[in-house]
């Protein structure tokens, strides 16, 4: 453990401000920074690994169709900049409708799952009732359930009920998928607001409902909003069930998927872009709540 270069007998320690001491300290500090530098380098490498492809799609989505088809591809992005690809995509058959469908499905899913999940989350957080653990276990099990397995029987069910090929049926399914996560997140959000706050409100004269509305709601709104955003994006991105459950009224992912084989590159790039944009925006708002959501997985 003895580093001979720094070992000097006590009586002959050079004074603090002497050049050898200054030099030695500088060397030692630099050695300590090495690890940090390595970490920075790794971070940047990984960041590039993630950003470069996204950047590429973006730039392809905003150039001329020729550039999209051209080879070899330029590194300079957005040259030439053009909305050609975009307009081509948006004018392609069924695209605007599918965009609309995607929005409708996502919004309905958002609203429906929030309405149903929030009370359930509140109940799980605030009340200790028999069956609570069972309920939570069921919710967790549902969350881990493969969507593939669910889609076919639901398709058959909807077919028989006459609801097939409608945005409503897809929204119903997406709600079923999104609900478990929402319940779990909402319950953890409510759990983080101590009940004493509600009680304090009541002590000062508010009814339980008022207490809830003025005290609890502002505190839980961000978390609930975050999980709502998560639901929106989940629905927006979902492709398997959308392809199975819709035919004429496709959502965007279903449309893109089914026309993949036949569509030109430009179409795909623009489609990919549209699929990505909400996620990127959403991730920006949600990164604070990420650990709340996925961290809760570890019971």
């Amino acid at each position: 453990m003895t580093d001979s270069s720094t070992s000097i007998s006590p009586s002959s320690l050079p004074p603090l401000d002497s050049p050898e001491v200054v030099d030695l300290h500088r060397k030692m500090k630099r050695r300590n920074l090495r690890g940090r530098l390595f970490t920075y380098a790794s971070a940047i490498l990984i960041a590039l690994w993630i950003l470069v492809p996204i950047f590429f799609v973006f730039s392809m989505a905003f150039t001329t169709e020729d550039t999209v088809r051209s080879y070899p591809k330029n590194f300079l992005p957005f040259i030439p900049f053009s909305t050609e690809t975009m307009t081509f995509f948006l004018q392609s058959e069924g695209v605007l409708e599918s965009l609309l469908n995607s929005i409708i499905v996502a919004v309905v899913t958002l609203v429906l799952s929030t309405i149903i999940a929030v009370p359930a989350g509140y109940a799980v957080a605030r009340y200790l009732f028999p069956g609570r653990d069972l309920f939570r276990l069921a919710v967790l099990a549902v969350r881990a359930f493969p969507i593939v397995v669910l889609s076919i029987p639901l398709a058959v069910l909807f077919l028989r009920a006459g609801l097939f090929d409608s945005v409503w049926s897809l929204a119903l399914m997406h709600t079923a998928l999104a609900m478990p996560t929402t319940i779990l997140v909402v319950s953890s959000v409510f759990a983080s607001v101590p009940y004493e706050l509600e009680e304090a409100g009541q002590v000062f004269g508010a009814t339980p409902l008022q207490s809830f509305r003025y005290i609890v709601t502002p505190l839980v709104l961000p978390g609930i909003a975050a999980s709502g955003l998560f639901t929106f994006v989940l629905s927006w991105n979902e492709v398997f069930a959308a392809s199975v459950l819709t035919l004429e009224n496709r959502t965007l992912p279903a449309l893109v998927l089914t026309s993949l084989a036949n569509s030109p590159d430009a179409f795909q790039f623009a489609g990919g872009f549209f699929l990505m944009v909400p996620s990127i925006i959403f991730m920006f708002f949600i990164r604070k709540y990420l650990f709340n959501m996925w961290g809760q997985v570890s019971k």
Partner: protein, 364 residues
């Protein structure tokens, strides 16, 4: 080989200067206690010695080696953390032997030292258990055993007793002191409890706001504090302080008026007190150093006792002297009740004089 020298060490966190130009030499095998209120920088200084939060400037040497910017494991040190920092997924045996294993000692040696350390701390029967089921006191012993097994030259302890309940703390204090006396390491011990500091250390370093106020053996720190802060921080109840006015008018020794009472500094301090800038001086005296008399005597002055706190081993009386509240401690056999009039005398050698301009205590 294990003298610790701290020279002009500074450490800041953002705008706050946590350790301000610290200079301290800890002698080989000395047990030094760093004590002070929370936020005074004692833990920061300890961690700088450990290498866990390195100094911004200055130098720290151990046994003549400049370790200022060396990583902790190259410093030949060992530490007991405030939260014990036991590894929850390992048995006690593996916990204690962790450092030895990291250093590549052979397994026989590890076993021997682990068993020795466990014996010292009386935790042999816990060796194959996991920390999860253990009490705080047991975990603390594991932490100490782990540190001792390293047989390092320097042992650092960060408030090892503060998470224990009062009774356990008392027991462990004595046990730890005895144990550490047999260990040959230079020990730096951080605590906020001044009783712990006085009872355990060879020397005590009192810190406040990042600055070392005084470094001396317990008796000196108690009896001859360097400044007002040390006087009031060390000792329970804290030292009493009252404001006084200097009267240099007479040609002879200077007089200090505290309200109606006139005090005269002893001969040793007379000239120093006289040299104080201005007319004010602060008079300090400890509760147990005042004389309480049932009737008026020479040099004593009258006070009214407002509160009597019977503490069992002593009575703590609160009284008003020239507008200041002071506490005096009397033997339980001395009869007194609230509202009673008493006569108090300040023995000259027990009075401490504070220069109000510097807050420093004057001794000569």
């Amino acid at each position: 080989m294990s003298e610790i020298r701290i020279e002009s060490v500074n450490k800041s966190f953002g705008d706050k200067l946590a350790v301000n130009d610290a200079n301290l030499t800890i002698h080989e095998q000395e047990f030094l206690v760093l004590v002070g209120p929370s936020g005074c920088g004692k833990t920061t200084l300890l961690r700088a010695i450990a290498g866990l939060g390195m100094a911004d400037s200055g130098r720290i040497t151990i046994g003549g080696r400049d370790v200022t910017y060396l990583p902790p494991r190259q410093r030949n040190i060992s530490m007991v953390f405030q939260s014990y920092a036991i590894f929850p997924h390992m048995t006690v045996r593996d916990n204690i032997g962790f450092g030895l294993k990291m250093n590549g000692e052979d397994s026989k040696e590890i076993d021997r030292r682990v068993n020795d350390a466990a014996e010292l701390l009386h935790i042999e029967e816990l060796l194959d258990r996991r920390p999860a089921a253990m009490s705080g006191g047991q975990r603390q012993r594991v932490a100490v055993a782990r540190a001792l097994a390293m047989q390092a030259e320097v042992l650092l302890m960060d408030e090892p007793l503060s998470n224990l309940d009062a009774l356990l703390r008392l027991e462990m204090r004595a046990e730890l002191k005895k144990l550490l006396a047999e260990v040959n390491a230079t020990t730096v011990y951080v605590t906020h409890d001044q009783i712990e500091a006085l009872s355990m250390g060879d020397r005590v370093a009192v810190m406040k706001d990042g600055i070392i106020q005084q470094v001396a053996d317990p008796t000196t720190v108690y009896d001859r504090p360097a400044n007002r802060f040390v006087g009031s921080f060390i000792g329970n109840p804290p030292m009493n302080f009252v404001d006084g006015v200097l009267d240099r008018s007479s040609g002879g020794p200077v007089a200090v008026k505290v309200g109606e009472v006139t005090l005269s500094p002893d001969a040793e301090v007379d000239s120093a007190v006289r040299d104080i800038n201005g007319d004010r001086v602060v008079v300090g005296i400890r509760a147990e150093n005042m004389e309480a008399l049932a009737e008026a005597k020479d040099g004593a002055f009258a006070v009214d006792v407002s509160v009597v706190e019977p503490l069992g081993s002593q009575n703590l009386l609160t009284m008003d002297v020239a507008g200041h509240r002071m506490k005096i401690s009397t033997h339980p056999s001395f009869p007194v009740e609230a509202g009673q009039r008493l006569w108090i005398r300040f023995p000259g050698d027990k009075i401490r004089w504070v220069d109000p301009n510097t807050e420093a205590m004057i001794y000569e």
